[in-house]
Symmetry: C2
Subunit: 137 residues, 2 copies
Amino acid sequence: MDDLDREILSILRRDARTPYTEIADEVGTSEGTVRNRVERLTEEEIIERFTIATQTGNVKAMIEIEVDVDVDHSALADAFVEWAEVDFVWEVSGEEDVVLIVDCADTGEVNDLITRARERDEVMGTKTRLILEERVG
Amino acid sequence: MDDLDREILSILRRDARTPYTEIADEVGTSEGTVRNRVERLTEEEIIERFTIATQTGNVKAMIEIEVDVDVDHSALADAFVEWAEVDFVWEVSGEEDVVLIVDCADTGEVNDLITRARERDEVMGTKTRLILEERVG
DNA sequence: TATGAAAGACTAACTAA
DNA sequence: TTAGTTAGTCTTTCATA
């Protein structure tokens, strides 16, 4: 991992469809070098996957979930990730323990998700923040 | 947005490099239809962007930043997104106002980021959570 | 690091609903 | 009028030297 790798990653993060030739021009190297490095980064799983960022609904939010102490976080996370509106589930350090990143049609749908989460016995409490604006690094 | 769109999105979310011909086979339509729909979804910003999921370091974290009331959030967010270790900057509702999603070499680097954030006058306080485990929906 | 071959995407003209 | 198809062309990627 050197600065050239980091530059390539940053370009791909903004637009993963940028042609290798264009990336090469931008970072001042050849198409082959960019291709080899992207292959290596993918191999090493520094690039976990090529994907799309979607906004199927109008509201994105973080739902922080406080979980009972003696609960299997992992099983709970597995359950949440099955919910259609959930993009990511993070198990985190700190008080709230599990964070959902969700993409909903409207705030009503966010509310439904919170209600569904709170209905589970393992869930002690929730804290929700709407994501008003996102910037990509 | 119909079921065909949703199928296409789900394939692209798993691997955004899947050729249109292959997606077409999988969902039972022609290459042209897949291409037209992906273009439409991109146009409508349901697909926000083609991107990569990366893990350059060993530690991912959420840094929640409490911002002084009369501060221009947008300018602050613009500054944070320039930091190399920052993947996303979210302006959120609630007390902390700005959330950074960071990808660092180690916890020391996370700590450096927190220090740099706290050095800014606009920043009143921070709260950090390490992301211990991530699931993708 | 070039260069030709292969794979994939795009254009545009056409068809069907 | 809109969505879908297809053949031909162009672009990008890949493998080889």
